[in-house]
Amino acid sequence: RRKNYQGKNSGGKKAGEDRSRQRGRKAPTKDQKESENKKKKGKEVENKQKEDRKNSTSASSNSSDEESPSEEELAMLMEQVEQKKKLISTMRNKPWRMVKKLSVLREAQAFVEKFEGALGKGKGKKLYAYKMMMAKKWVKFKRDFDNFKTQCIPWEMKIKEVESHFGSSVASYFIFLRWMYGVNLVLFGLIFGLVIIPEVLMGMPYGSMPRKTVPRAEQATAMDFSVLWDFEGYIKYSALFYGYYNNQRTIGWLKYRLPMAYFMVGVSVFGYSLMVVIRSMARNANESTADGDDDNFIFSWKMFTSWDYLIGNPETADNKFASITTSFKESIVDEQESNKDENIHLRRFLRVLANVLIICCLCGSGYLIYFVVKRSQTFSKMQNVGWYERNEVEIVMSLLGMFCPPLFETIAALENYHPRIGLKWQLGRIFALFLGNLYTFLLALMDDVNEKLAEEDVVKNITHWTLLSHHNSSMGNSSSATPPPLDPADVPRGPCWETTVGIEFVRLTVSDILVTYITILVGDFVRACFVRFVNYCWCWDLEAGFPSYAEFDISGNVLGLVFNQGMIWMGSFYAPGLVGINVLRLLTSMYFQCWAVMSSNVPHERVFKASKSNNFYMGLLLLILFLSLLPVAYTIMSLPPSFDCGPFSGKKRMYEVIQETIELDFPLFVAKIFSYVANPGLIIPAILLMGEEKRKMMGYYTNPMMQDLEDLFTPSTKNESHPKQAEDKKREPPHGNSPVGTQGKAAALDGSPMPGGRGAAFIPPPHVLVTQPLTLGVHAPYPGQYRPRGHPLGPVPGRGRGQPRYPHAPR
């Protein structure tokens, strides 16, 4: 068989061995071996010569130079030389015998050497050679740079480890987390570099102005931990918050326009986030339409190409086995789902019923929230309010957050969707629920702001009179013209609503962080410890029954991340330091959650791949981005800034800083142009056009989403008598990604041994997977970046109770 084989054969040394090591023939003779060695050496030398020759054409000019051939001859010659060169480079792949190859090679090289010199014309030769060399160097540089960039991607190994144990759906959460970290890092860089650093370095120092100083009344307690924890005291009067910034038009010797910079950075935070989210969506949409035609051999390829023969390390091998097992399970889930054949009418009816029920729940909770907020407003006017009345809003929000999501999951069992789609519905519903949360928070905040604005007028008068009286009194004592200035700590202060708003957001973020971490610690880790250790002396099997180990709650976590980011976007204009806090949070979250997952969670009973398009996560993020843009835009446009704090103090509206800059800093004609351009007649069409652009880009991604929705209602057309033609098979269209791709990626990275670090004491024994009778709550992952797919909405005999970690009420 080998003799007839015609395939490509590359590699001189090994090819030689192939030829001679044919089956049935015994060991090579001494001569053969020596000739092989010679061939190998010869080939190496020739290869080297070939390379040298390519680099220096000047060395190969020879006698044919003085012939000066004609144009056609030159062209023909060039063609022949190119042919020979090509022959030389593909020599390895030719299935010839070694002897023949060598002779042809020598002949070709001689030809090239003889005539290449004739082609270049003097200087042209050198330039050509130089260009070739630079081109090669450039290619090499690009390749090295790409390798470097890939190595720079953080946490790749961690995520690979999580993926191999828990499947691509759980890993998709971590990939999303990493992406958010990147975005936040950029935002932090923007804010820190352009706003905080200039103010700290070039602005007035602490204590020099009223806005930068702790008021006298508060100074006694300004350093207490409890005060600092509430973000009052010294923290309130620091560069972390809006109120610290001075409204001086230019600061320092650089004449840095700080108020302008503050405003522009605030706007560009939203602009950059918008751009990055949309770009990510468009890219994912393009990728997801790329593969989808190669789903004919999914199982075969999984079986025969998933094991990476390069693995030489037991731990890597363990991970690989786990990942292969998980991958098979995922494909099995998909296969089973696509085989389900049911009564379409019953299914539709049940789905409609489920949606009706859930809408009722949502409306009910919305009304409840509204009612409770109204009550709290009346309570705040009353005198004797008990603890319950004071905290009623938060209690109601927390209860809703705890009980509604599992309720939705239970109702969703009626719908019997493909796991991935069920996940999306679940996420959408919880999202709607938490919009209510957001609504109350913003309402409370707006009430606060309006109060402060009213208060401000009063304080303005007080300040005015205080200063006047101080002047008068000091003038009375001495006859000098300039009175000693009032100590900044004594100047009466305005309420500074912007800083208050900033403080609220920071508090919310910090408490969210704490609650999340504590929930993970208690809900996952302590639970795992309990189940593992107390199991020995408990009446029923803790591992198999209640409470057992937790599954990783992907939906809760992703929603938490998305809402958290919304808070950051809303609050970053008023608290520039908030993004820094978020960066720290995401960083620690990554490590903490990776550890928690590996040590205390078990993989989902029905592992599934998240959907191919990551765009569902991104869509939610986009929605939250718009929602968080609105309040900020409203306050910028229509609320007057405080009179004594912040970079816009003294102006009627915050955006006036732009006008001011244009008038004072730009030449006159620019101001005129802007005044024409700021015509609403021009602005509205411009905005509409931009909207069109965005819609066009969105068009790229809506198609896969539409496909998803279509999947709900088209029955699977697969029937039992399989036609043997691959083309006739109808599988779920755009979600048929090639799992080999994932394996390929896994394979590519498995070459290096994975770091240990698994907290081995707490890995639940694998048999737990088999004995788990219940799926612990439907926690569909967000369609993550690694073509997450499918979801665990399987035949659930009982209700699961995962550990929902939903964004809780503010404060």
């Binding site: 054969n9 590359s10 040394k13 090994k14 075969s300 098979f328 089973q336």
Partner: protein, 161 residues
């Protein structure tokens, strides 16, 4: 090739002479092959050794050894690899990959973690996907037809020494 000889020497210094000019007939037992660092974590190492050994028993001579590494190297062409991959996965050596071969493969890949129903489903799916001539098992042509298109085949069926 010198490297391969050196490898073999490290494996079993007492067995492998450094001087091959007189062509001694040395056979390494399977235990030594199976404990090589490149192969010891591979679930198919036994099959690999059996396929490349002369008598099908896993004991390899130098030629077999070199054969094995040359096929598994990154220079070897796709068809050659496909041919040998077929032989490796054909556990009962009947020139067909039948359902029992597939079951053994899956169990080796997942270390017996899948339930029998799942294993059954997987094997049936593989036969459904790849069996072109409808005989319920995979012949070499079926296998090659399927594996040639696999994007990962070349990169995974590869050992570096």
């Amino acid at each position: 090739m010198e490297k391969a000889v050196l490898e073999k020497t490290h494996l079993a210094p007492q067995l492998v002479p450094l001087d091959y000019t007189h062509k001694p007939d040395v056979t390494l037992p399977y235990e030594l092959i199976g404990s090589m660092p490149e192969l010891k974590d591979n679930p198919f190492r036994q099959r690999i050794a059996e396929v490349f050994s002369e008598g099908g028993d896993g004991n390899m001579t130098l030629d077999d050894f070199l054969d094995m590494f040359s096929v598994l190297s990154e220079m070897a062409p796709r068809d050659l690899k496909a041919y040998y991959a077929f032989k490796i996965y054909d556990f009962n050596n009947d020139d067909y990959i039948c359902k029992s071969d597939l079951e053994k493969t899956v169990n080796k890949l997942t270390r017996n973690e899948l339930t029998p129903e799942e294993v059954n489903l997987v094997c049936e799916k593989v036969i459904y996907e790849a069996d072109v001539d409808n005989d319920g098992k995979l012949s070499l042509e079926d296998f090659q037809h399927m594996i040639i298109r696999a994007p990962d085949f070349l990169s995974t069926f590869h050992i570096r020494i």
